[in-house]
C-alpha cells in the first residue's frame, strides 16, 4: 500500500485501460481495484470502459470478474446499490462475503432484501420470477453462517422474510433452546408476517416441528392449530392426553381446552368437540341426550349435570377402569369446550365479587329529567353495563315505577338489558326471560317491544354459546310477523349462532330480510353478518346485491355492517370485497367498506389498511364514511395500542367534528383497558369539545380506556369520575353529552368492576366475539339498542384456579405490588348497605373482602346453608388474618369493626404486597406483579397470571378445601358406590351453586 499512497490521481491507470494490450489492462484493473476506495470519484467517469471490459468475451474469466468487482465498488460508492449488487454477483468468487468491510456488509444486506422481495413477489403474483442462483447462493451462505454462529433469531428472521421455510426449520431444530425459539417464532409470525396464507404456512411448519419434539408443548401446538383451523389435530392431541395414565396430562388437556375457549372461536370449538369420540359409558348418553333436549328441557338440573362429570360412577365398577377415567375426563373436556364450565365459573365469580356502586346510578337517576327519554334509556343502559354478567338487578327491582316510563323502543332496550345483566346465565336464561317472551300462539298480552327485547336478551345471554337456544329463537322468528319481534329475534339469533354459518338459520333470516321491512331488515342484515362472521362466504355478494336493490337506508346500513362482519380477520382475502364496497356510489356501503377494512385487518396494524383508512378519513365526501374510517383505525391498531394516539392525534384536531368523534372512539377501542397516558391526554381536550356528540364520543372512549384503572395509578381517573358527575348533574348540559356521561359511568364500572374490555386473549389472539361486539357497539350512533353489544367485549379480570375436578380449590398467591394500586374504587359518599363492607378495608387481603362480600350476598338471599359454607371457607382461608376475620364474623357488628379497622390502617404504612386467594380479581395492569408461592400445595400447569388455570395438586392425599362452591370435598374425588343417589345429590348441589334466579317483574304500564 505504501506505493499506492503516493499516487495522487488515478488518471494514469484509467488511461491504461484504453491500451490495446490485455496485460496492461489487467495491470490497470488490479491497481484500480486496490485504489478504488480513494479514487472512486475519478474512476466513476470511466465506468463505461470498465463495464465493456467485463462484457468483453475475449477477456479471460478472472479479468472479467475483476472488472465486475471494480464496477460494483464504484457503483456502491455512488449509492447505486442495485447496480452494485448485480455486478458483485458477476464478480463471482472475487466478491468475498466473509470480508469485514462496509462494502460487503452493505451489499449483503442489499442482497438479502432483494432476495426477500423477489421471493415474496414470486409467491404473491403467482408468476415465475427468475431468481439469480448466485443471489440465492449468497443468501444461503449467510443463513448457514448465522446458524453456525448461533444467531438463531437472525437466521429465523431472514428465513421468514425470504420465505425459506426449509431454512427456518433448520434454524429452529438446530437452536439450543427449541422451545424458546419456537415461541419467539410464533410471536414473529403473528406480528411481522403480514400475509395470512404465508403465516399459515409458517404455522404449519411450526406445528410439525413441535410435534417432532420429544416433549411437545401442546399448549402452543393447539393454539397454532386453532389458527390453522384444524380441529382434527386438536382433537387428536386432546384425546391422546386424556388417554394418558398420567393425571397431569389430563390437567394439561383441560388447560388447553380453557385456552381455546378463551379465544371464543365458537365454530372451531364445536368442530373439535364433535371430533372427539363420544364417551362409551352411560353418562355419555346422558350428556348427549341433554345436549339434544336442552332447548326443550324445563328442568335446569339436567343442564347442570353436563359440567359435573360425577355421574359416571355406576359403570366404573363394571368396565375397564382406564376406560372409565377416560370417559369421565372426556365428559369434563367436552363441558369445557362447550364453554359452559368457564361461563359458569365466570358467572359465579362476577356474582360473588360484584362491587358496583348503586349510589352512582341513584345519582344519575335523580338528576336525569323525567321527560328526557334519551337520558332515561341511557341510564337503563348504564345499569345493564354496570351489572353485566353479575345477575344483580336490584336497581331495576327497586325502581319499577321509574322503569315503567320506558315505552316503545325504550322498553325494548330495557328488556334487552336484562340479557346483559344475566349474560352467561345459560341454565336459567330462558326461565328468567319467560315472562317477557312471546307466548307462541297463546296470544299473550305482552307488548311486542318487550317481547322483541326479550329475544334479543336471550341472544345476549347465550352470545357465542347458543347451542341450546338457537332452536327456540328460530321458532320465535318464524312464528311472528311483527317487525319489532323479528328485529329482536334476528339480533338474538345472530348473537347465539355467532360465526357458525348455519345454513338453516341463514335461510330464516334471509326470508325476514326479503320482507323489505326497514326495522326487521336492519337487524336481519346485522344478524347475517354475525352468523357468517369470519367465514368470507359467497353470500356476501348476495347481501351486497340486496343492499343495492332495497330503498331502505336502515336495511342498507344493516347489510353493509353485516358484509363487513363476514370478512372478519380475512386480511388479503377480503380485498376484492373491500374494493367493491369502498368504490360504491352509496355512502352507506362505503361506510360498510370502512368496517370491512377494520374487521378484515383487525389487530394486524397492517400498513396498507392504515394508509387506506387514513386516505378515506380525509378525502371522502360523506361525514359518516370519514368518521367510520377514523374509528376503524382503532380496530386495525388494537394489538399495538401505543401507536393509535400518535396516528390519530392530527385527526383529533380536525375541523370536522365527525373526524374528531372517530378519533376519540378509535383511541377508546384500541387502548381500551390500558389506561395509556397518551390516550388519556389525547381524549382529555375532546371531552370539553364544542360539539356535543364529540364530547359524547370522547367520554365513552375515555371510560373504555380507564376501565379498571384505579385512581392510585392515574390521578386523572378520579378527575374523570368527577367530571362525569358534573356533566350528569348539570342542568344545562346537552342531552348528547349527558348521555355520553351516563354511558361512560356505566362502562367505567362495568360488570361490577370486575371486567375489562379486552380484544386480545392472553395468547395474543384476537377474540372474535369481543371485536365483533365492539364493532356493532359503535353502531349505536344510529341505533341505541346496539349499545348492549359492548357486553360481548367484556372479559372478567380474574384468576380462577381449578383442580382436576374443575372445582375451585383454596389456593393463595401473591400480588407483588401495593394493594391500593389495583383496588376497587372507593364507593361514592355515604356507603350504602351494599357497599359498606368494602371500604378501603384495612383488611390486607382480598380474601377477607371476598368473604365479606360472599357473606353479604348470602344474607341477601337468606340462604343459610350457603352462608355457613362460605363462613367455613373463609375460616380456613385466613387463619393468619384472624383479626379481620373475627371482625367480620359477626355481621351485626360489622360497621363498627370496619371503622376501627380504618383507623388502625392510617397508622400503619401500606404493605408492598398482597396475598390473593383463588378466585381473585387480577386486573391486567396487575398481571406482571403476580407471583405463585413456592411452598404452595398447588402448582399451576401454565404460568399464567390470570384467566382459568389448572392447578396440579402436589398433595393429593390431603383433603381439599374448596372455595366458591358448596360441593363437599369427598364428593369431588368421585367416590364410587354412591350410585344414582350421588348423581342427583351432586346435580342438586350444582344448581344450588347458581345464584337464585330473580323473580320476574312486570312493567306497570
Amino acid at each position: 500500500m505504501a506505493a499506492t499512497m503516493m499516487v495522487s490521481s488515478a488518471g494514469g491507470l484509467l488511461a491504461m485501460l484504453n491500451e490495446p494490450h490485455p496485460s496492461l489492462k489487467l495491470h490497470a484493473l488490479s491497481y484500480l481495484n486496490s485504489l478504488v476506495d480513494q479514487f472512486w470519484p475519478e474512476i466513476s467517469t470511466s465506468v463505461p470502459i470498465i463495464e465493456s471490459l467485463y462484457e468483453d468475451e475475449e477477456f479471460d474469466q478472472h479479468q472479467r470478474q475483476l472488472a465486475a468487482l471494480l464496477v460494483s465498488k464504484v457503483f456502491y460508492y455512488l449509492g447505486e446499490l442495485n447496480d452494485s449488487l448485480s455486478y458483485a454477483l458477476g464478480a463471482g468468487s472475487l466478491f468475498d462475503v466473509s470480508e469485514d468491510s462496509d462494502y460487503v456488509h452493505t451489499l449483503l444486506a442489499k442482497a438479502i432484501d432483494e432476495y426477500a422481495s423477489l421471493r415474496s413477489k414470486a409467491v404473491e403474483s403467482n408468476e415465475e420470477v427468475v431468481i439469480d442462483p448466485r443471489l440465492e447462493a449468497i443468501v444461503e451462505r449467510m443463513l448457514d453462517k448465522c446458524i453456525a454462529d448461533g444467531k438463531y433469531q437472525q437466521a429465523m428472521g431472514i428465513a421468514i422474510e425470504c420465505r425459506r421455510l426449509d431454512k427456518l426449520e433448520e434454524a429452529i431444530t438446530k437452536s439450543d433452546n427449541v422451545h424458546g425459539t419456537l415461541s419467539y417464532c410464533i410471536n414473529v409470525s403473528h406480528s411481522f408476517v403480514n400475509r395470512r396464507e404465508y403465516r399459515h404456512e409458517v404455522l404449519h411448519l411450526l406445528v410439525n416441528v413441535y410435534q417432532k419434539l420429544p416433549s411437545p408443548d401442546y399448549l402452543s401446538i393447539c393454539q397454532c392449530l386453532m389458527f390453522l383451523d384444524e380441529p382434527q389435530g386438536v382433537a387428536s392431541i386432546l384425546e391422546k392426553l386424556l388417554r394418558s395414565e398420567n393425571k397431569d396430562d389430563a390437567l394439561l388437556a383441560f388447560q388447553i381446552a380453557f385456552d381455546l375457549v378463551e379465544n371464543e372461536h365458537q365454530a372451531f370449538l364445536l368442530n373439535v368437540r364433535d371430533r372427539l369420540p363420544t364417551p362409551k359409558t352411560r353418562p355419555a348418553e346422558v350428556v348427549q341426550a341433554i345436549e339434544n333436549t336442552a332447548p326443550q328441557s324445563e328442568t335446569p338440573s339436567g343442564d347442570a349435570q353436563m359440567t359435573d362429570g360425577t355421574p359416571s360412577v355406576t359403570h366404573v365398577q363394571e368396565t375397564d377402569p382406564a376406560e372409565a377415567t377416560y370417559s369421565e375426563r372426556l365428559t369434563k373436556l367436552k363441558g369445557i369446550l362447550s364453554g359452559e364450565t368457564s361461563i359458569q365459573l365466570t358467572l359465579q365469580f362476577l356474582y360473588n365479587h360484584n362491587k358496583s356502586d348503586l349510589l352512582i346510578l341513584k345519582t344519575i337517576k335523580q338528576s336525569v329529567e323525567m321527560r328526557n327519554s334519551v337520558c332515561h334509556s341511557a341510564t337503563i343502559h348504564a345499569n345493564a353495563i354496570m351489572h353485566a354478567g353479575t345477575t344483580v338487578d336490584t336497581f331495576l327491582r327497586e325502581n319499577l315505577d321509574w322503569l315503567s316510563r320506558a315505552t316503545n323502543w325504550a322498553k325494548f332496550s330495557a328488556t334487552a338489558g336484562l340479557g346483559v345483566i344475566h349474560r352467561g346465565h345459560l341454565q336459567q336464561g330462558r326461565s328468567l326471560m319467560a315472562p317477557y317472551l312471546p307466548q307462541g300462539g297463546a296470544g299473550g298480552g305482552g307488548s311486542p317491544y318487550s317481547e322483541g327485547g326479550a329475544l334479543y336478551a336471550l341472544g345476549l345471554i347465550h352470545a357465542n354459546h347458543g347451542e341450546g337456544i338457537k332452536q327456540f329463537l328460530r321458532d320465535s322468528l318464524r312464528s311472528t310477523n311483527v317487525e319489532v319481534i323479528q328485529h329482536g329475534a334476528c339480533l338474538g339469533l345472530g348473537l347465539a349462532a355467532l360465526g357458525t354459518a348455519d345454513e338453516d338459520i341463514y335461510d330464516d333470516i334471509k326470508s325476514v330480510l326479503y320482507t323489505d321491512s326497514a326495522v326487521a331488515g336492519e337487524a336481519a342484515g346485522i344478524s347475517m353478518g354475525l352468523l357468517l362472521a369470519g367465514t368470507a362466504t359467497e353470500k356476501a355478494s348476495e347481501m351486497l346485491a340486496y343492499a343495492h336493490e332495497t330503498q331502505h337506508e336502515k336495511i342498507i346500513r344493516g347489510l353493509a355492517l353485516g358484509i363487513a362482519l363476514t370478512v372478519y380477520g380475512r386480511e388479503e382475502g377480503a380485498d376484492t370485497l373491500i374494493e367493491q364496497m369502498t368504490r360504491d356510489q352509496d355512502p352507506i356501503l362505503r361506510y360498510g367498506g370502512m368496517y370491512a377494512l377494520a374487521l378484515a385487518y383487525c389487530g394486524t396494524a397492517n400498513n396498507k389498511a392504515i394508509r387506506q383508512l387514513l386516505h378515506f378519513a380525509v378525502s371522502d365526501v360523506s361525514d359518516d364514511v370519514r368518521r367510520t374510517a377514523v374509528l376503524a383505525l382503532g380496530f386495525v391498531l388494537y394489538s399495538d395500542p401505543e401507536q393509535t394516539p400518535r396516528i390519530v392525534s392530527l385527526l383529533s384536531e380536525s375541523y370536522n367534528p365527525h373526524v374528531r368523534y372517530g378519533a376519540a372512539l378509535a383511541v377508546g377501542i384500541s387502548c381500551a383497558g390500558t389506561g395509556l397516558s397518551e390516550a388519556i391526554s389525547l381524549l382529555e381536550p375532546l371531552t370539553s369539545d364544542v360539539v356535543d356528540f364529540v364530547r359524547q364520543g370522547a367520554l365513552i372512549a375515555m371510560a373504555m380506556v380507564m376501565i379498571q384503572i384505579s385512581e392510585a395509578s392515574d390521578s386523572r381517573v378520579g378527575a374523570f369520575r368527577r367530571q362525569l358527575e358534573k356533566i350528569i348533574l348539570d342542568k344545562h348540559e346537552d342531552t348528547m353529552s349527558k348521555m355520553g356521561a351516563i354511558l361512560a359511568s356505566g362502562i367505567l364500572d362495568a360488570g361490577g368492576r370486575n371486567v375489562t374490555i379486552r380484544l386480545l386473549s392472553k395468547t395474543k389472539h384476537d377474540k372474535i366475539t369481543a371485536v365483533i361486539g365492539l364493532a356493532v357497539f359503535t353502531q349505536f350512533w344510529y341505533w341505541y339498542p346496539l349499545i348492549y353489544f359492548i357486553s360481548l367485549a367484556f372479559s372478567p379480570t380474574a384468576f380462577i384456579g381449578l383442580n382436576y375436578d374443575l372445582k375451585v380449590p383454596k389456593f393463595e398467591f401473591m400480588s407483588n405490588a401495593k394493594p391500593s394500586l389495583f383496588e376497587y374504587p372507593k364507593p361514592t359518599t355515604v356507603p350504602t348497605t351494599n357497599t359498606a363492607v368494602k371500604l378501603p378495608t384495612a383488611v390486607l387481603s382480598t380474601s377477607a373482602k371476598a368473604k365479606a362480600r360472599a357473606k353479604k350476598e348470602a344474607e341477601l338471599k337468606a340462604n343459610s346453608e350457603k352462608a355457613a359454607n362460605t363462613e367455613k371457607a373463609g375460616n380456613e382461608s385466613g387463619s393468619g388474618k384472624g383479626k379481620a376475620l373475627t371482625a367480620e364474623k359477626d355481621a351485626d357488628s360489622m360497621q363498627v369493626d370496619d371503622s376501627t379497622a380504618t383507623v388502625e390502617k392510617k397508622a400503619e404504612p401500606e404493605p408492598s404486597f398482597e396475598i390473593l386467594v383463588n378466585p381473585a380479581r387480577v386486573v391486567p395492569a396487575q398481571e406482571k406483579y403476580m407471583k405463585f408461592m413456592e411452598d404452595s400445595r398447588y402448582v399451576p400447569v401454565k404460568q399464567a397470571p390470570s384467566g382459568f388455570v389448572l392447578l396440579k395438586d402436589l398433595r393429593p392425599k390431603e383433603p381439599e378445601v374448596l372455595s366458591l362452591t358448596d360441593a363437599p370435598t369427598s364428593a369431588a374425588s368421585g367416590a364410587a358406590g354412591q350410585g344414582q343417589h350421588g348423581t342427583t345429590a351432586s346435580s342438586a348441589m350444582a344448581v344450588d351453586d347458581e345464584p337464585q334466579p330473580p323473580q320476574p317483574f312486570e312493567y306497570t304500564s
Binding site: S9, E42, G79
Partner: protein, 487 residues
Amino acid sequence: MTQDVEMKENQTPSQSVVTAATSTLQNLKEIASLIETGSYTKEVRRIARAVRLTMGLRRKFTGSVLSSFLDFALVPGSEAHSRLSSFVPKVDEHEMEVDTASSAAQAPSKHMSAELEIYCYLIVLLFLIDQKKYNEAKACSSASISRLKSINRRTIDVIASRLYFYYSLSYEMTGDLAEIRSALLALHHSATLRHDELGQETLLNLLLRNYLHYNLYDQAEKLRSKAPRFEAHSNQQFCRYLFYLGKIRTIQLEYTDAKESLLQAARKAPVAARGFRIQCNKWAVLVRLLLGEIPERSIFTQKGMEKALRPYFELTNAVRIGDLELFRTVQERFTETFAKDRTHNLIVRLRHNVIRTGLRNISISYSRISLEDVAKKLRLNSANPVADAESIVAKAIRDGAIDATIDHKNNWMVSKETGDIYSTNEPQMAFNSRIAFCLNMHNEAVRALRFPPNTHKEKESDEKRRERKQQEEELAKHMAEDDDDDF
C-alpha cells in the same frame, strides 16, 4: 487557506484562579449531564446545545480542569480514561486535587454513555489544539476517530462532526493533510451509509478542502458531483461548501456560477467569521473582474477588511481604468500577497480583461478610431501592435464586450451608438429577478422556521417557560459565538 481558520489565542490562566477553575468544572459537569439526558432521551438538540456551550467554555480550559473532568466523566482505569489523561498535563494544584477526589468518588457507580466518552475526546482535542500541541492533537484525534467507527448512534453525530473537523485541522496544522485523505473518504462513505447527514456534510467539506489544498481541482469536482446530495443541515458547513464550490468553478472557468456561490457564501457567513468572509470577498472580486464587472467600492471598505482587501482594491482600480501598465505594477507590488492567497493564476488570467476594459472605454469615448491609436492607448508594446489590436478588437466584438465593427480597409474600429437601455426589456428583467430573489428569500425563511411538536397543546408551566426562555436566550447568544468559533 490557513489563515481563515483563526484560532483564538488561548489565555491560559497562569495565575491559579481557583474559583474560575471550579466554575468551569461545574459548567462542564452541567454539560455532561445535558449530554447524558440527551443520549438517554435520544434528543439531538440537547447534545447540539452541549457542544455549543462547550465552545463558549473552551477558552477557560486548563489542564487541571480537564483532568478532573475526565475523572468525573469517565470510569477511572478504563481504556478511554487512561488514554485521554495521558494527553492532559497534570497540574499540581492542591485545591483541585481535593475536588478531583470527591468527584471521582461519586463517579464510579455511573454508567458511562458513549456520547460522553466521545465528548471527552472532543474537549481534550480542543484543549490540545488551543495549546498548539498539534502532534498530540493528531494522536488524540486519530484515537477518537477509530473509537467513533465502532459506534453507530445518531445522537453522536453532532459531536462526531466536530471531531472530524478538528481531526482534519490538526493534520493540516502539521501539513500532513494528504495522509488522512483516504481515512476521510472512508468516513464519508460510512456517514453516507448511516444517514449521518451532518457528518456527510462536514466530511465532504473537509475532503474538498483536502483536495484544494493540493490543487487537485479536478478530483475535488468529481467527488463533489458524485457524492450523494441532501439538504444542508448546518449553515457553517453550507457556507464552506459554497466557498469551495466557488473556487472549483472559478478554476474551471465557470465564472457566473462561481460568482453566485462565492457571493452567497460571503452573504451567508456570520459577521463574526471575518477571516472567512475576507477570503470569500477576495475570490468574489476576482471572479467579478474576470466576468468583466467592476465591484463597487463599498466592498473594499467593509469594516475590518480594508487592509486585507487593499491589494485587490488596487488591482480592481487597474482593471477599471484598463491601464495595462498600472496592472503590471500592482501585480508586481503584491506578488507575495497573491502567492499567499493562491490567487496568482487567476490574476494572470485578468490581463486579458484589463485590455478588454480599456477597449470598452475607448469604444465608449470614440465613435471611430484607428487601430493604431487603439494599440497605443492600450500600450500594446509588441512587434506588430496594429495586427494585435485588430485581433483583440475582433475577439472583444465576438465576445460581445463592445458593440462595434472593424473597418478593415481603413483600419478603423467603428463603435455603434448605444441605444437607450430603458426602451428595452432589460430593466424589467432586472427588476423581475430582484423580486424573485426577495420572494425566494422570504419563502426559504418561512420554510426554515421550526416549531417543536405539540406546543400548542401543552399548557406549559411557569418552570418550563422559564427554562425555555433561558434556552432561547442562550441559543441566540451562542449562535454568534458559535459561528465565530467555527471558522
